[in-house]
């Protein structure tokens, strides 16, 4: 066989791998012949990988590859696809029956995965002793049952159309093994055992995380034997390490200028666009901001397309809604606020602030005043609004933001479960300090709409309700969308399959070199 013929076959097999999880055996075997190692940049100190207590994307990405959920997200489309559950059905969005995959093996010899593991995992989250911050995600469950080892039936207190997100391979949705948890004691976060494509072989919290291929992974072993994550915090150093060939794949490059250098040097610029929106949270209990015209004026006053084009054409794009355009629920007809300083001035005059006012923006000092903020200050000053930044360090910032002690602050929306976003950010039950509704937003019409949407069984009607909710939200504007963020994982050209999903995560089972 000619070499071109062989590579064509290989490509075909690879395509098959990506398309249908079932038919991968031969490709994986081909990969397993060599003991390949992929050196990956990891950008911060690891904080542990216990699904019940996991924080920050980089740690979540490790967990994403170690654990599995009943469902998971497709790396390219963001759609929910089967994972440990082969299939499922639901009644009235209330009773969810999952049919589990058979023969799935736990890592490190913990045997076969069964329905009991699912029940244990969810109960663990719900156990107050676990002190999981994600407990609220599962409190909607009324009963959980395992009629047989391969079936799980979950009954919800109220209908929830987005429940498949809850059981996805993310946070509370990740399935753990009782025996492994008990064996780890208080070191659970450092001894994760899952059913995912990679297991944690060793970790040096100061410098290195090593993942090894889980040979018994139900889709077949991953092509790469070893994932060697090196902690490199500085973005410029990380770029140099990639250019030096010390690493193969750079997890997140957040400096536009480095992206330019890497692009010019011919590296592969793996990326996902619009993975999340940055919002300006308008605290409606503020006497000035409670006037909707003021909030709209702010939205009209800033030219985000110009800003993103100027400072980070790769990393940012303007955002026009709290929903991302790729989402199913995205409403195209919701109001948009294009740059219009005259209109902003007019609205301010109508609201009684012809000379503007002072907008105090709480922010973290971690990056100092960003270029974006500097532009915002510029733009706002042109309509008479004086934006003053209150910069505090990250813990303080988080604390004040959660307590609602600010005039305006920002939030980065993780944009995967639209229903969850709408509830967390717009439902009055979730007003801070209790929840994430930092705007203190309470519009009964919107509340009724999202509650109805969640319960609605008919998908078309649900979409309509969601669209209505978006229209209300974008008219009231408790959150002013500013930018949508893109995520870049530059790599050497021979690294393939780096598909970053909308949680900014990469499924390494798909990666090869």
């Amino acid at each position: 066989m000619t070499s071109s013929g062989r590579s064509r076959l290989y490509a075909a097999l690879l395509a098959a791998t990506l398309l249908s999880p079932g038919a991968v055996v031969s490709a994986s075997v081909a990969g397993a012949a060599e003991d390949k190692t992929l050196d990956v940049r990891f950008y911060d100190d690891p904080a542990g990988f216990d699904p019940a207590n996991i924080f920050r994307i980089e740690n979540e990405n490790i967990a994403f590859n170690v654990f599995s959920g009943l469902t998971t997200y497709d790396g390219k489309t963001g759609a929910i696809v089967p994972d440990l559950a082969e299939s499922w059905e639901n009644k009235d969005n209330t009773t969810w029956t999952f049919h589990l995959r058979k023969g799935v093996q736990w890592q490190k010899g913990y045997g076969e995965f069964t329905a009991a593991d699912v029940l244990y995992s969810y109960k663990r989250i719900l156990d107050p002793a676990t002190a999981s911050p994600y407990i609220a995600e599962l409190t909607g469950i009324e009963t959980m049952e395992a009629p047989d080892p391969y079936t799980v039936v979950i009954k919800l207190k109220q209908p929830n159309g987005g429940f498949l997100h809850t059981v996805a391979n993310y946070h509370q949705g990740q399935i753990v093994k009782k025996e492994a948890i008990e064996a780890a004691g208080d070191q659970v976060r450092w001894q994760p055992v899952g059913t995912g494509p990679y297991y944690l072989e060793s970790i040096d919290v100061n410098s290195r995380i090593v993942l090894k291929r889980h040979k018994g992974y139900y889709k077949g072993p991953a092509p790469i034997e070893t994932l060697d994550f090196h902690i490199i915090k500085d973005d410029a150093t990380a770029a140099i390490a990639l250019r030096n060939g010390e690493i193969d794949l750079l997890m997140r490059q957040n400096k536009e200028e480095q992206l330019q250098i890497l692009k010019d040097a011919g590296f592969k610029m793996n990326h996902v666009d619009n993975y999340a929106a940055t919002l300006k949270v308008m605290n409606l209990s503020d006497p000035i901001l409670k006037d909707v015209r003021v909030r709209q004026a702010i939205a009209y006053a800033i030219d985000y397309p110009a800003i993103t084009a100027a400072i980070a054409p790769s990393l940012q794009a303007p955002a026009y809604s709290i929903m991302m355009p790729w989402m199913e629920v995205f409403a195209k007809d919701a109001p948009r606020y294009e740059y219009d300083p005259e209109k902003a001035k007019q609205l301010l005059t109508e609201a009684g602030y012809p000379d503007g006012f002072t907008l105090k923006a709480l922010n973290t000092s971690a990056q100092g005043v960003t270029e974006q903020q500097q532009f915002e200050i510029d733009y706002l000053s042109q309509v008479g609004i004086k934006m003053e930044l209150e910069l505090v360090d990250t813990p303080t910032y988080n604390q004040r933001r959660n307590k609602g002690e600010f005039m305006t602050a920002t939030r980065l929306l993780p944009a995967i479960n639209p229903d969850m976003i709408l509830f967390s950010y717009l439902h009055p039950d979730n007003r801070s300090p209790k929840g994430l509704n930092g705007a203190q937003y309470d519009n009964p019409e919107l509340t009724a709409t999202i509650e109805a949407a969640r319960a609605e069984a008919d998908p078309e009607k649900r979409m309509e309700l969601y669209a209505k909710a978006q229209t209300i939200a974008m008219t009231d504007l408790p959150y002013v969308p500013s930018t949508a963020n893109n995520v870049y994982w530059p790599s050497k050209t021979n690294v393939t399959g780096v598909n970053i999903n909308y949680l900014a995560q990469v499924n390494f089972w798909e990666v090869d070199e």
Partner: protein, 315 residues
């Protein structure tokens, strides 16, 4: 000697206790706690409060303080607050990195600056200012360049362009050759900042010694100038030099943060900043105790070295 040791011990005790108390209450006065540090964009206040009470961070301050002192007295440094890692292990893991950087820097600095400073002093003593000015000037320029800037320039030159040293990679004392390659650039960068100070001190003290009466005595007995320089001047000038080296060693241990960050070295500066950013009280407190211990130990070592150089120093 016994008396001296007792005194030292008393000094150590008061310094460490003072430091511990200061850091304990300062840390808790600072807004934000370990829980708020891990709160990202999508954890609600309710969820965080649950975790807070779970971790017992709401006990009365004084009780926490006494508890802490009790643990300290039994050398129990505990675990990190949120990640539950044994702190002593983290510090012992990071210490060799930082210590190698500090030692490397001191060695390189000494190797460069003492000959330079001596040369400058020698020529200045003879009334030739040219070389003296040049040395002092270059040292000053090196001293004044911000280390984060020189770090990147060094990376671009020595790592990217010349390919001599890696920019990343695991550091371990088990592999000294690799360790040396990894710390070479940080050591270079840090030495740049130290050379000026040490060269200046060397120059000043050698110059001072050169005008001492006993140098003239030695010259009057037919000792050559160079011999006088090496046998008399350097030995007598050693005290201020040793003091500065001791001080800079202490400074280096907490001044390596920036290079550790840029060169991705897992040292204790890294731990400190990380601990501070995550409000890990336990971590920061323990590190500070370490710093205080090191500070006192360096003072002690400096004193011992004094004794080697100057027989007049008695304990």
């Amino acid at each position: 000697m016994l008396v001296y040791s007792l005194k030292r011990f008393a000094q150590l005790f008061t310094t460490v206790l003072g430091v511990v108390t200061l850091v304990f209450f300062t840390m808790r006065m600072i807004p934000g706690d370990p829980i708020s540090a891990i709160a990202g964009d999508n954890l609600s206040g309710e969820a965080l409060d649950r975790m807070r009470s779970q971790m017992g961070l709401d006990a009365p301050l004084f009780v926490q303080y006494l508890n802490y002192l009790g643990h300290l007295a039994t050398f129990d440094f505990g675990n990190t607050v949120t990640t539950k890692l044994p702190i002593i292990g983290l510090i012992l893991g990071a210490l060799p990195v930082t210590v190698s950087i500090a030692v490397g820097t001191i060695v390189l600095t000494v190797l460069i600056s003492i000959p330079l400073g001596t040369l400058a002093a020698f020529t200045a003593h003879k009334g030739h200012r040219m070389l003296d000015n040049a040395i002092t000037g270059v040292a000053m320029v090196l001293d004044l360049m911000p280390s984060f800037w020189t770090s990147l320039v060094c990376l671009l030159i020595f790592s990217l362009t010349l390919g001599w040293f890696p920019a990343s990679g695991t550091v371990s004392i088990d592999d000294p050759a690799h360790l040396l390659r990894r710390i070479a650039l940080p050591v270079l960068v840090l030495s740049m900042a130290q050379v000026a100070t040490l060269a200046r001190i060397t120059r000043t003290s050698v110059l001072e010694v050169l005008s001492e009466d006993y140098v003239r005595t030695a010259r009057s007995m037919g000792w050559s100038e160079l011999r006088v320089l090496f046998r008399h001047a350097l030995k007598n000038a050693a005290l201020p030099i040793v003091t500065v080296i001791g001080l800079s060693f202490g400074n280096l241990l907490n001044g390596t943060v920036i290079v550790e960050f840029i060169f991705t070295l897992p040292g204790i500066g890294n731990l400190l900043v990380g601990g501070m950013n995550s409000r890990d009280y336990q971590m920061v407190q323990t590190l500070i105790v370490f710093y205080a211990l090191i500070f006192v130990a360096i003072n002690f070592a400096t004193d011992l070295i004094y004794r080697v150089f100057d027989p007049r120093v008695q304990f």
